[in-house]
């Protein structure tokens, strides 16, 4: 057990160091869940309304792919689980995954673990401490979620089951991140691998919910769904989560014993002795630094688009079978339900894809915080050029990601139906979201320029845009609040005509934010 010596002390160190962050993480999801729970109760108070709700989703594979399997919808708890379970549990997993990487490979890469391990601390202790802190975070999140649901009048056993899903998934992804952290020397790479695992888990589950039910057993998110809170309430998927966690942690420890401190399972090869022509500029450097994540974002968004596109067909079948719904759609006039589904899919992909834009803008700050901007500032590259390089990559990357969303959806649709007429429309509709993604980046640039220490708040702004886009109905958000999001101003084509004016207006806002951020960066102390 000497390998674990010092675990408790290190866990306390992390808890102390990130006390605010951990508290925010623990409270955010239960708060969001409680708000959703209250709002859904207002929306579907009677059994009749719930029955109508259940009927409208019972066989809608498109919605199932984005949200989860529509089961137990005759109860309010079942509706809550369907509307929030997959997404909120994913947020819990995202938090634990990022934190584990921060405490393990992050500290190792920064050289802090070297200092820690030179004391009487066991080799496994840093990883064990990271897992302990994030497991505690998961359990506290679950407990708060449980308490919140009880407080707003949801049934106890179902609430406990949903809370257990959240906590369990958080712990599983902490373990996945712990394993990933052993593989490479760079924290960015290991975080990317863990994020990719989360993305694959989400996609596998989406395909499962769209029809291939057995696939759900391959995804940890699927295990959570199989608990079926407020329905069958099965507990044994939790045992599956526990077994997976144990195996992953054992694997992480085994790799830890084999590798050198600071090293990975895969060694870094030597590189070129000279810089290529492309690297010899500020923009070249920004491209080089951000290219791996841009490629990952494009691939992830394209793959999600494929899934969204491929299941479009099922909506048409569904409406054809459902006369009542077909009438409603006909009465509503305007675009078809397929078009509004596609518009929603593109908007969701765009707002999630804006993550890259924020990441690219904030990279300017993380480079500065790491002390790597100093040497560049002493060269003849001006400050607008140095920050502008990241703005350019954020802006161009947004366009590529938007295009990937449109193309992915169109290709998915084309492969499933054989119809390729929509390709141009979907591509244009997706590209129209690029200016909204720029606004997300622009908020980051303004913060980097004017309040570098608060730059991380750009993520909070993006989180708000995501909530305003994906959870607007669940949370019953007021229109004025939703309109604060640039994504709400882009016409939802193909459901509505693609008017150029609002798109240009959003682009102008983005341009103003970029200019303001760069102007502020010129005036402050830097380096």
């Amino acid at each position: 057990m000497s390998e674990l010596r010092g675990t408790a002390r290190l866990a306390r160190l992390h808890a102390r160091r990130d006390r605010v962050l951990l508290a925010v993480c623990a409270v955010a999801i239960p708060a969001l869940l409680a708000a959703s729970a209250v709002s859904l109760k207002d929306l579907y108070p009677t059994p009749e309304e719930r029955a109508r709700y259940a009927a409208s989703f019972a066989s809608d594979t498109a919605v199932a792919a984005t949200q989860g399997n529509p089961v137990n919808l005759e109860t309010i708890g079942g509706i809550l689980t369907f509307e929030t379970g997959v997404w909120y549990s994913l947020f819990v997993a995202l938090a634990t995954l990022l934190l584990v990487n921060r405490y393990t490979r992050g500290d190792e890469e920064a050289g802090r673990l070297e200092l820690v391990l030179s004391t009487a601390v066991g080799r496994h202790a840093p990883t064990a401490a990271a897992l302990a802190v994030t497991s505690a975070l998961s359990v506290v999140t679950g407990a708060l979620a449980f308490g919140a649901l009880i407080a707003v009048g949801y049934e106890a056993v179902g609430s406990l089951a949903l809370a257990a899903w959240f906590a369990g998934l958080g712990i599983v992804f902490a373990a996945i991140a712990a394993l990933a952290a052993q593989l490479f020397e760079s924290k960015r790479t290991t975080t990317g691998i863990a994020l990719a695992a989360l993305g694959v888990a989400w996609l596998v589950r989406a395909i499962a919910d769209a029809g291939a039910d057995w696939l759900r057993w391959l995804s940890p998110i699927g295990w959570g769904q199989e608990i079926q809170p407020f329905g069958e309430e099965r507990w044994w998927p939790l045992a599956l989560m526990a077994a997976a966690t144990a195996a992953l942690v054992a694997g992480a420890f085994a790799l830890l014993r084999r590798r050198d401190l600071g090293g990975g399972l895969f060694a870094t090869r030597p590189g070129p002795a000279r810089a290529s022509r492309g690297l010899r500029s500020a923009t070249g450097l920004a491209v080089r630094l951000l290219r791996p994540s841009l490629v990952a974002w494009i691939a992830g968004i394209f793959a999600s688009g494929l899934v969204y596109g491929a299941i479009t067909e099922s909506i048409e079948d569904f409406i054809a079978e459902n006369e009542e719904l077909a009438q409603i759609v006909a009465q509503a006039g305007g675009g078809s339900i397929v078009d509004s589904y596609l518009a929603t899919a593109l908007a969701s992909l765009a707002v999630l894809g804006a993550g890259f834009a924020v990441q690219a803008a904030l990279r300017a700050r993380s480079e500065e915080a790491a002390g790597r901007l100093e040497a560049l500032l002493a060269t003849a590259a001006s400050r607008p050029r140095l920050l502008g390089a990241y703005v350019a990559v954020a802006a161009a990357g947004s366009v590529l990601i938007a295009a990937a969303a449109g193309l992915g959806t169109a290709v998915g649709l084309g492969l499933a139906t054989g119809g390729w007429d929509e390709l141009g429309t979907l591509l244009a509709a997706a590209l129209a979201y690029a200016p909204a993604m720029w606004v997300a980046a622009g908020i980051g640039v303004v913060l980097v320029g004017a309040a570098p220490r608060a730059a991380f708040l750009a993520w909070a702004a993006l989180a708000f845009f995501v909530v305003a886009e994906l959870l607007v109905e669940v949370l019953n958000l007021p229109d004025a609040l939703v309109k604060l999001s640039p994504f709400a101003h882009i016409p939802p084509s193909p459901a509505e005509a693609l008017e150029p004016l609002p798109v240009l207006a959003v682009a102008a806002v983005a341009g103003a934010l970029f200019a303001a951020g760069i102007a502020a960066f010129r005036r402050r102390d830097a380096g």
Binding site: E109, E185, S186, T268, P270, G271, P272, A273, R274, A275, L279, R280, S281, A282, G284, L285, R288, L289, A370, G371, R372, E374, A375, L376, L377, A378, T379, A380, A381, S382, R383, D525, A526, G527
Partner: protein
């Protein structure tokens, strides 16, 4: 002949900390200027103001006749910098980092770069994260020295270098002197400063406490004298300008104000000198005298 670097009464505060508190610094063209001060005394802050990274809250700084803040880009074409803490991109090789910094400064002399890589024995194919502190330092030094900058701002450039590489560095600075470049060299290695610098500025707590050539500075301080005389030297115990006098039989050891050295030698002569060791103050003694918190002005620092 106007100064290449001119700072007058510089003030810089970070929150409640006053990092610079009326600092003065003047470096003439072609001069190798030592910049000394304890940790946290404001050396790096001064250099960052000269590079336009930080904006001074008070006073005036000029670099090559320009305003370091306003004319940053233009000035940086003529200036090279080695940061005190070299941070490299973890996934860029050392060679890539050197070329990148060189191109951003406005071009790099390839032959010179390759020669420096050879002289410093740097493996340029390693990634930034794999370099030791000394090797990171070499990357920054090569990038700075490969440029044909007129002014070099070097913030503890040899920290982490092995003695062989340090000797290499001294040679290179001598070459810079020969080609008429101006160098501001912040360092804790006093032997290095003593060997390389024409003039030095010593700062403490954000203020300049001493500035001048080493000869001038020595003049302001004391020379240590050890003598053996035929007649007992006890009579010298109360000699004006003498400090730390130790008499042991016919042997006397003391420190004397350099201005009174001549008078002391006459007195010793009268006592018939047997042997005499006379040592000018080392830079270290100068340094300690200005740094030591406890040392009162009238007392000599302990050796």
């Amino acid at each position: 002949m106007s100064a290449v670097i001119e700072a007058r009464d510089l003030v810089k505060t970070f929150g409640r900390t006053r990092a610079l508190d009326g600092l003065d610094l003047s470096v003439a063209p072609g001069e190798i200027h030592g910049f000394l001060g304890p940790n946290g005394s404001g050396k790096s802050t001064t250099i960052r103001i000269l590079l336009g990274m930080l904006r001074a809250d008070g006073g005036e700084a000029r670099l090559l006749g320009g305003d370091p803040w306003r004319d940053a880009v233009e000035l940086h074409r003529r200036v090279a910098y080695v940061p005190g803490d070299v941070n490299l991109w973890p996934n860029l090789t050392g060679g890539e980092a050197i070329d990148l910094l060189g191109s951003l400064r406005g071009g790099i002399d390839r032959a010179r770069r390759d020669e420096l890589v050879r002289r410093f024995e740097l493996d340029t194919t390693k990634r930034g994260r794999a370099y030791s502190k000394g090797n990171r330092q070499k990357v920054a030094l090569i990038a700075a020295l490969a440029s044909d900058a007129e002014v070099l701002l070097l913030d503890e450039p040899t920290s982490g270098l092995d003695p062989l590489m340090e000797a290499n560095f001294r040679e290179l600075v001598d070459e810079l002197r020969d080609s008429g470049r101006t160098v501001l060299l912040s360092s804790h290695i006093l032997a290095e400063v003593e060997a390389l610098c024409d003039r030095v500025t010593i700062i403490r707590a954000g203020r300049t406490v001493e500035s001048g050539s080493l000869a001038e500075l020595r003049h302001l301080t004391r020379t240590s004298v050890i003598a053996e005389t035929v007649r007992p030297p006890a009579t010298l115990a109360g000699f004006e300008g003498a400090h730390d006098v130790h008499v042991d039989g016919n042997r006397i050891a003391l420190q004397v104000d350099t201005a009174r050295l001549d008078a002391l030698l006459r007195e010793l002569n009268a006592l018939e000198v047997h042997s005499l060791t006379c040592r000018p103050p080392t830079l270290e003694e100068l340094f300690l005298r200005h740094y030591g918190d406890v040392a009162a002005p009238s007392e000599s620092p302990a050796e």
